[in-house]
């Protein structure tokens, strides 16, 4: 099967005629779900505004898929409530909630063509066959697969299948779109492409969307807001920038992006010092050590620079060229630090040489030394 992902993009304009919906608000309120002794969700509160794109991010087993399935009605909840458009749907089965869902993979019905798959939701709703055909046509056009209308799932690539699944989910004009790791079974290039397409479609259709992933890059690039989850709890719910630059918990700081942990001292309400590196600005929150205390200072790779220094305390262990950036790893007393710099600086340090570091930006978190 020819892979046609890269050449196909959403034909803007044609795409959303009649597909535009008024987004609704969605809210999970104190939702709890346990399997035996394991708490998959404990009193989860999560609310999305109309039309918002929420990404649920976390390691496997964190409860994000359970939350999504609870929202869909595919998973029972022990307590709490689910509201869609202000209406309590906790008691409704999945088939009665107005949701469109895209699964990880293999969710297309193998005995139906793409067109029939897209028509399915309309068929069970009793639409006439002419109406169904028209809608399916529109939807397939929207995802750029009109030429694959009569193919069976196994005749299409993984990326194409997921686009059909998306068209199928949207064909019933749901109030909420739920995507359960829809890109994780695809290879990198297709994934990046389809990610863009999903984002664009969501913007154009304006549907409230929940997207589950364990891939932080995916989460940060897609979301209006990211819900970082761990052990059935919501760790932080904020914009990608907030989650990345001012994580509220240790877990978020270490799970999202790369961090360097330096030991230093809190200078005052705004600045913490790392000896021989420099001053980092930070934001105080509860639990931040008092000025004068020793502290761990968490710094993103791009908030430091490295320079060759024969007397430097750091040993350059690895220099990796990444295109526009260079990733440099340095070591000191058994700890490794990662620095990202622009490629133009590449000739400054070489593996095996000594170097020193300089502060360039702010710390994302300052916490007491463990």
């Amino acid at each position: 099967m020819m892979e046609m992902e890269s050449s196909k993009t959403v034909p803007a304009g044609v795409s959303v005629q009649g597909a535009k919906v008024q987004g609704v608000s969605v809210r999970l309120s104190k939702v709890t779900r346990t399997y035996g002794d394991v708490r998959a969700l404990s009193e989860l509160d999560l609310a999305a505004s109309p039309g918002e794109f929420v990404v649920m991010l976390g390691p496997s087993g964190c409860g994000k898929t359970t939350a999504l399935r609870a929202l869909a009605g595919l998973e029972q909840i022990d307590s709490g409530a689910v509201y869609i458009g202000g209406k309590d749907v906790s008691r409704l089965p999945a088939s009665k909630r107005s949701i469109g869902m895209v699964f990880q993979s293999y969710s297309l019905f193998p005995n139906m063509t793409s067109a029939a798959n897209v028509e399915f939701g309309l068929k069970v709703r009793g639409f006439s066959s002419a109406e169904r055909r028209k809608q399916a046509h529109e939807m397939l056009e929207m995802v750029g697969l009109i030429e694959q209308a009569d193919r069976f799932p196994h005749q299409m690539s993984g990326g194409q299948q997921q686009r059909v699944a998306l068209a199928r989910a949207l064909a019933i004009k749901p109030e909420v779109l739920l995507l359960d790791e829809p890109l994780s079974a695809l290879d990198a290039k297709v994934r990046a492409n389809l990610r863009e397409q999903i984002k664009q479609l969501q913007r154009e259709v304006g549907i409230t969307t929940f997207f589950v992933t364990h891939d932080q890059e995916e989460a940060l690039s897609l979301a209006d807001r990211v819900a970082v989850m761990n052990n059935g709890n919501l760790e932080q719910f904020g914009t990608p920038t907030e989650v990345y630059s001012s994580p509220e918990t240790d877990f978020v700081a270490s799970f999202v992006g790369t961090v360097n942990v330096f030991y230093g001292t809190v200078l005052d309400d705004k600045v913490a010092i790392v000896p021989n590196v420099g001053n980092f600005t930070y934001v105080r929150r509860t639990g931040t050590p008092a000025p004068g205390d020793r502290a761990e200072i968490l710094v993103r790779p791009e908030a430091i620079t490295v320079k060759g220094d024969l007397e430097g305390e750091y040993l350059v262990s690895d220099v990796t060229f990444l295109g526009s950036n260079v990733r440099i790893r340095v070591q000191k007393e058994g700890s490794t630090f990662t620095i990202i710099q622009g490629s133009s600086d590449i000739d400054i340090v070489a593996p095996g040489s000594r170097a020193s570091l300089d502060a360039k930006g702010s710390a994302i978190l300052v916490r007491s030394k463990l």
Binding site: S95, K96, F103, Q104, L108, F109, D150, H154, L178
Partner: protein, 318 residues
């Protein structure tokens, strides 16, 4: 491709899709034939020649000779009289009995086998499933003479079940039942047909993915609609194919019937057997061949239907 109107587009797409499904098979076949002739790839097939020759001598030659001789009279001349006798009177009856027996036993075992397969795939524990699967593997291979005798011990005139039923006042032999009849044979055949069906149906039921159920539910389908539009159509081809396999299997079965009824029940394999054993009709030495050719005919029809079912299913299967 330009899209002018909806209907037109669908039609042309239909043609396109249709081509596409069958083409890979045809295309690769032609290509491999060309390659075969062109590049001397036939050398590659030398290694399987002994196998083919063996199969030819000990399977194809006998099978073909049965059909050829079916058209010969005692003097070796061409005649159709073997067939006119073979498909009339007592022999016609035995074809009817054979087909009836095979249909009944295949229908029952298809239904029961499906139920068992559903029950064990749906069971949460792994142990039950492992036991039933292994058991089916073993029982499907049970047949022939020992099976016949263990049913004599069960449902024969003095069998355990017969005895128990008699004790509660219902001796089946007083109500027209006999183990040594077509009905009795049907019951005995279930012993190896049901496990066979279980083995056939477990993989396709297993292959029904949870995602399809979830997707159907999220699209608003009820459980019945799921089975009607997705589960049913997906299970139908293996079910039908399985049915045909069971039909063929019981149609060809000889040993169980021979042992159970001492060769007296009027079904085709038994008739052929008794013709071989010397009960030859004068002037029709090749009557058995005509019956054999008839059996091959029935089996070929089943095989063609089987191929058709598989091809239908392969539209959406790999």
């Amino acid at each position: 491709m330009t899209v002018s109107s909806l209907g037109e587009d669908r039609e042309s797409e239909g043609g396109f899709g249709g081509n596409n499904t069958s083409e890979p098979i045809k295309g690769s076949a032609t290509r491999s034939v060309v390659r075969f002739l062109k590049y001397g790839n036939w050398r590659r097939f030398m290694g399987v020649l002994p196998f083919i020759v063996y199969l030819g001598i000990f399977l194809l030659i006998p099978a073909i000779s049965v059909v050829v001789d079916a058209f010969k009279g005692d003097n070796g001349n061409f005649t159709l009289s073997n067939f006119s006798i073979g498909f009339s009177g007592v022999y016609f009856e035995s074809f009817k009995n054979s087909i009836q027996l095979s249909l009944f036993s295949a229908v029952i075992s298809t239904v029961v086998g499906l139920l068992v397969a559903l029950a064990i795939v749906a069971s949460p524990g792994r142990t039950l499933r492992a036991v039933v699967t292994a058991g089916s593997g073993v029982f499907a291979n049970t047949g022939g003479v020992p099976l016949a005798f263990s049913f004599v011990a069960t449902l024969g005139n003095f069998g355990l079940v017969t005895e128990l039923l008699t004790k509660i006042g219902y001796n089946p032999y007083n109500h027209g039942f006999s183990l040594y009849s077509v009905l009795g044979l049907t019951i005995v055949y279930e012993y190896f047909l049901i496990p066979l069906m279980v083995l056939i149906m477990i993989p396709p039921i297993d292959a029904l993915r949870k995602e399809w159920v979830d997707a159907a539910a999220s699209l608003g389908a009820t459980r019945i609609q799921f089975w009607r539009y997705i589960g049913g159509p997906l299970l139908a081809p293996p079910l039908l194919a399985g049915f045909l396999v069971l039909f063929t299997d019981s149609f060809a079965a000889y040993a169980t019937a021979a042992a159970l009824t001492s060769g007296t029940i009027p079904i085709v394999p038994i008739q052929i057997g008794s013709l071989i054993s010397g009960n030859v009709l004068v002037g029709h030495a090749h009557l058995g061949n005509a019956l054999g050719a008839g059996m091959i005919g029935v089996v070929i029809i089943a095989a063609i239907m089987y191929g058709f079912v598989q091809r239908r299913a392969s539209r959406w299967l790999r």
